[in-house]
């Protein structure tokens, strides 16, 4: 398994950090609304894929662009980045908020996407099985809601959060608020979701406390060419808790 190397790009004036490793068909991973859990898990893909993990603007090592107020700004950002990286066609994997973004990207630019994998994606308005309003949850309670087995997340968290850690989490929450504070769900997104024609895999942990696993079926109603894989005993960060979920993505994309 290859280690990631770090590239720094400037995309439309925004510092954009991209971690890449491995060789093979390109696999782009969109992270979720926080980056504290890191990308170690993705090393398992590097023996079969060229793995490309960008930090979204406003998260982790990438810079801020306070003019980004809409998920579509991120779609445009990635069109620019993929052109810059000369990535014409690639596999796209998105986690949570990154799943929302990946599905939106595929609904608009499906011809650029080979296969699509969505890990506990956000963005679905499902009144029967609503997503938890994570912006309303006190920061110190969030980690406990992300996983069923806290040990897998614990190693990514500082024993005692310092000001830098708190500041970084606050920054990422602020980025999310810019996008979702007033409208956590966008009915237009669902309206156009049927345009995703790519082979799609939807992965979920059956103990997800943030987005109920029942939403997997709702997603399949919108994306006809989708399969579902549910992992027992896993929470929202199913890819951290279940290595077999990471492997299932690789198998599906191969």
């Amino acid at each position: 398994m290859a280690k990631f190397s770090r590239e720094v790009h400037t995309v439309d004036g925004v510092k954009t950090v991209v971690h890449t490793a491995g060789s093979g068909e390109p696999l782009v991973f969109f992270h979720g609304a926080g980056t504290v859990d890191g990308f170690d898990f993705a090393e398992a893909w590097t023996d079969r894929f060229r793995v490309i993990v960008p930090y979204h603007p406003g998260f982790g090592e990438s810079g801020d662009d306070p003019t980004f107020t809409d998920l579509h700004d991120y779609v445009m950002h990635y069109l620019e980045l993929f052109d810059l990286l000369k990535l014409d066609r690639f596999n796209l994997v998105g986690l949570s908020l990154g799943g929302y973004l990946a599905a939106k990207f595929a609904s608009e630019h499906g011809h650029r996407v080979k296969k699509l994998a969505l890990i506990a994606p956000a963005g679905m308005i499902d009144p029967q099985h609503p997503m938890m309003d994570i912006l309303a949850v006190p920061g110190d309670q969030v980690p406990g809601l992300l996983v069923s087995n806290f040990e897998v997340l614990k190693k990514h968290l500082p024993a005692q959060p310092d000001l830098d850690f708190i500041g970084e989490r606050y920054r990422e929450a602020g980025t999310v608020a810019r996008l979702l504070w007033e409208h956590p769900g966008d009915p237009k997104f669902m309206r156009y979701l049927h345009r995703v024609k790519n082979p799609t895999l939807i992965l979920w942990g059956d103990e997800d406390k943030i987005i109920p696993v029942q939403q997997a079926e709702t997603w399949r109603k919108f994306i006809p060419n989708a399969d579902i894989k549910v992992f027992k005993g896993a929470g929202h960060l199913v890819h951290l808790e279940k290595p077999e979920a990471v492997e299932a993505v690789a198998k599906f994309l191969s």
Partner: protein, 389 residues
Amino acid sequence: MSAALRFNSMHFMPYVHLPENHKEHKSLWVNFSNKHYDPDKGYDLYQRYLRELVLADQLGFDAIVVNEHHNTVYSMMATPNLLAATLIPQTKHAKICVWGTPPNFMYPNRLAEEYAMLDVLSKGRLEVAFPLGTGMEYWANPVNPATAREKFKESLKIIVQAWKEDGPTSFYGNFYTYRFLNPWPRPYQRPHPPCYIVGTGSPETIEIAAEFGFGYSAVFVTQQRAAELNENLRKRAHHFGHTIRPEQTPIMSFVYVAETQERAEQEYIGHLQRFFEDFTRTTPQFLAPPGYLSVDQLKMRAAMADKLHGTFDFKAISNAFFVAVGTPDNVANQIGDWTQRMKTNHVNCVTHVADMPHWKTVKNLTMIAEEVMPRLRSRAPAAHRMAAE
């Protein structure tokens, strides 16, 4: 510049009937259930608090101050303009200060209209302050805290344009489009009532005050910090071509006067303690919704909160903040000292806090008006030479 020292009486109108187990609630803001609000008790409190503000006018305070907060026992002034409208016919001389409605929670034209109405209704006695709104208000109102500062600035532009320019004008912004900005009535005072920005010291907010040439009322900051902020405001305002006058930087202070020092402390300290420990009690999450503060400000405030953590210490608080409690002489000396050091002639006195009973508020207002103000006014010119420098 007027040489007169100016005294305001400021009220929060708290809902004081807290349930016995209220300490179990980490926050008396945002999510503290309104089932605890009894309208009968609320009626009595409104009657009483309004009488206290009217009394301040009768006793010779230069201004009475109302303000806005939501979802909290801290304040029953959800829409301060209603209170201002109630107070106008009951008062004669005092300026009516609505300090104020966060513009983000209203359409800017509507706020311009309401303030203009109050100004005309009072024949030019209105003063307004524009707060961004505390973090807590952004959990209560459907407005994005992460874009609050941009929206705030745009709202101010619209309000000032509506007041200064003959309508109709138009405005095309990021948040608002006005094809016919032409609010009736216009303010009584030309071009508009005196304006302040209220804040707790974010440099971003001071920059806005400086740009518009507005006053800045620093609230809940230490004396040292207030001095720094005012100095910074003067500097930054100068950069934008404005000169900040002494009355534009009011001191927000907690004042209580009694016959002796001991008696003043004995009558007051418990209420001040409950103000800080109960009525302002909330969580870090509610204080700083996502994106409301810059990351630097968030870290600074988190570090400060760690330092301040501990039991209520009256001596420490009164040394650090603007708190004057004691005899008329002591309080007058302290206020005189502040006005010189802060280079201002404008003292905004919080005359009622927390569960202070009516008799103490009446006593306090009377003592300030009859004992403290004359002492300071007799020596005001000296203070004001300093202030004007």
